[in-house]
Subunit: 505 residues, 2 copies
């Protein structure tokens, strides 16, 4: 009963099928925007709660800043406005009125307002009021918010005009402190992705031409999707004194001299859910890692004869009681008993599409025998995908089982990542040939076997254009540089820098 | 050391002082919008978490809907657009470009988009796709989001152009079910306000002319501020089939006939924090009820001699360990040890202004004697406001102490509410005289002694105008109607309906 499209048949259409069949999100009548439905939003809530705890435990506090930014604020940082001007929603009026029988915008604003594409400018303005002395530093804040970037080719979770994210913004007395913060939060993103989303990432620095508009350095984590393309899963920016200068965030330092502060910003968004899907889903639908699954175990009662209902439900209630004491990740196990008025077969497929880690099917025969039928989503279609076990045994080991699924999902994704990084392409010719072929597969809509290529880069200024011609990008300069010399795969020049070349989302 | 303005001197200015001195929020450079700072946002997070649990335990699920609503959606419900048209932020362009050296809006949208003032229309559109049969009902969803209403006289928390809220939206197969939902959630709001915010409320129905635009019935909870004015703290609307008809939410009912669904919506916002301030704050600053205080106990080390630091901090660490086992409201006690590089006196005043329920000051003498100095914010300035107690005794009873503060705050507010509802004004003449005088006090900016007046109302159509002339409103038709006959205080006609007349925010 696989989805309408498999990954082999058409990868992009398969992606849409997963989102839709797992009932995670849908396109809205509001152009380019999505409705995040309960299963998708539940996953986001889990991601948010886990990362919010990290944000707070590293000394940051949550705030909320206005989503409307006066247009003039964008004039202050030239690179910044250049980077975002083409995709900004602009508010120009503050009411509607009826004119000649038509409802039209009225009451034009003196200054247009931009719906935040990101909040550096408005937060820098607040920081300039808050920060006077080195004693006020560091300022470590974060907000969970919606942002808008006017995408022309929207795709659910990956690129929508409005999306949800967190954005951290900090100010420090020294460049070294700000750089340490940038890297600390990048590491927090790696931990979030690998330990909670079971999505392995490569950490590194963006090339100069691909930095965040206004940043001195942009660091990123990159994840490999099942089609071998790369997804930028999170970024952390060292902004130097750029925004501090344009917004006048200055303070009296320990030497009693005025100085501009050093700022950072860092964010992850609902795009992570797109990455999650393309990391874990299969041709039957979504598979959610247990740590962020809204329900880790779903119990489906199988009532063939109405007379059995009472006995089956009483048995399920006992199981519920046993399971509620389990704490797989230091938190109560999240359990759902699906009592809706639907057939158990429909329910099984619904939870399979959604990717609930474990489905228990329980009928009269199981109740009589003291058993449970365990279906692990990750093993669907294999002999171990369906197991009958004594109830006591299952309940006693449920937490461990859930933890093992989390581990297995990460291992599976990690193996895929590492076995799909090519290091054997060492000449520009081989490099050209490889991506020409790979691009061909992708154009045909197949699940490309396109790999990441790890190789040398000379840092040439025209790299951006050369990459565009090949439809590829430099994902990052990985932190683990080898330091060896070799040939730049783009230009053929001698080079020492290692980079990851890849097709990307 | 009272605030720059006391309640007696100037109530509105006192309010601004509390917000600012408690560092809860500030005006932003984005006109009419606020920055919610960590202490204010921390209170909102607590409110959100408590109510989110209630939302979920009553069977609702969280979603997220686009904040941009196509203008045409508002044409569908005539009353609805009339109600909101005057205060809508309108997005008309999707980029900025440089023209003659100026950055200007560019790329005009085919259809303007409204930044949601509330989401009935866009959610009804989604419901119309989700709901086909009675089997799909009820649909019970909620979202936590930002909304925009173009206020011309913004005030922090009470009226800002952008604010945060939750909005629940549900669809049902019968009117009775939808009405029950409306009242269920109103009751949930009462519980939130009274049990967590320690803010007593009156539950009732809005008069016809003051309903939510597009609703059949609007129910509300009304709270009394210290100046005797009323604050609408939450509303719950029975929308009948109005939005279902305009958005075509129809379903096949159990009789196999097509029928329009019955919908509801209900919301509370960051405005609650304004209500919280005007319920509990005093001339020294904010007082936060322990259930929603970001920190319930703050420990301020008092280090007079640097040599004492180690001993004092070790002693504080022991207290921290003891306290961390306490769970005043079924959750770990929230404790802050304030180690910042500031004087203990400054720290004491800062936490007093913020309204942390309990401040412990601990110095060398306390450590040596095994004592703690306990300062309860609610008792500031009274003999019991400062107590020395043996550490073991304090730690053992800390949870109880925190619970008692919660209880005392609610009792204090409840006494004020009940002792300020006048039922002895029974003629239109006395009524006119009373509010003429009360309005005079308020105009002078004093803490008015203005009371709620509970009396009769004939339901006359021109009531709205008569009330406007007197600068008062009917807050609600309380659920506990007496059923007796009397004289309408507005018109002098015979009347049976009881209402609450009051000045309002």
């Amino acid at each position: 009963m696989s989805l309408k499209k498999t990954r082999q048949e058409n990868y992009p259409e398969w992606y849409q099928c997963v989102v839709s069949e797992a009932d995670m999100a849908e396109n809205s009548s509001s152009p380019g925007c999505m409705v995040i439905k309960p299963w998708g939003y539940g996953i986001w809530e889990r991601i948010r709660d886990i990362f919010d705890e990290k944000i707070k435990s590293t000394g940051h506090e949550n705030c909320y800043f206005p989503m409307f930014i006066p247009l003039s604020f964008f004039r202050k940082e030239a690179e910044h406005v250049d980077g975002f001007a083409k995709e900004m929603a602009v508010v120009t009026h503050s009411r509607l009125s009826m004119q000649e029988g038509k409802l039209v915008p009225d009451s034009k604003l003196e200054e247009p307002l931009i719906v935040r594409p990101t909040s550096e400018t408005i937060i820098a303005d607040a920081f300039s009021k808050w920060i006077k002395s080195y004693r006020d530093l560091p300022v470590l804040i974060n907000q969970w918010a919606n942002v808008v970037r006017w995408e022309m080719r929207p795709r659910l979770f990956l690129r929508t005009r409005e999306f949800l994210w967190q954005e951290g913004h900090t100010a420090h007395a020294t460049a070294a402190e700000a750089e340490a913060e940038t890297k600390l939060m990048l590491e927090a993103y790696r931990e979030l992705c690998e330990e909670s989303l079971a999505m392995p990432v490569i950490m590194g620095r963006k090339p100069e031409y691909d930095k965040f508009p206004g940043a001195v350095d942009t660091y990123c984590i990159e994840a490999m999707m099942q089609d071998g393309k790369s997804l930028q899963a999170g970024t952390s920016h060292f902004l130097g004194q750029n925004f501090a200068k344009s917004a006048n965030i200055s303070f009296i330092n320990r030497q009693n001299q005025p100085e501009f502060a050093y700022t950072t910003s860092w964010g992850v968004s609902t795009r992570l859910i797109g990455g999650l899907i393309m990391t874990h889903a299969d041709d039957e639908g979504m598979i959610v890692p247990p740590k962020i699954a809204p329900y880790q175990i779903v119990i489906v009662p199988v009532i063939k004869n109405p007379a059995d209902e009472e006995a089956v439900m009483a048995y399920i209630e006992e199981i519920r009681k046993n399971l509620s004491a389990q704490t797989p990740f230091g938190e109560k196990l999240r359990l759902k008993i699906d009592r809706r008025d639907k057939s158990s077969v429909d329910k099984f497929w619904e939870w399979t599409r959604k990717g609930a880690p474990i489905i228990l099917e329980i009928g009269k025969r199981d109740a009589d025998a003291g058993n449970v039928m365990i279906k692990e989503r990750l093993k669907l279609g294999t002999p171990e995908g369906k197991q009958i076990a004594p109830r006591a045994e299952f309940c006693a080991t449920a937490a461990e089982r859930v933890q093992n699924i989390q581990k297995a999902m990460f291992e599976r994704a990690k193996t895929r990542l590492f076995s799909n990084i090519r290091t054997d392409i060492t000449t520009p010719e081989a490099f050209q040939t490889y991506f020409a072929e790979a691009n061909q597969w992708i154009e045909e809509g197949k699940q490309g076997k396109v790999a990441f290529v790890r190789g040398k880069w000379s840092g040439d200024e025209n790299s951006d254009q050369l990459l565009k011609n090949m439809k590829i990008t430099i994902r990052c300069l990985p932190f683990d540089q080898s330091g060896t010399e070799g040939t730049c795969l783009l230009t053929g020049k001698p080079a020492t820098i290692d980079v990851i070349y890849a097709r990307s989302y």
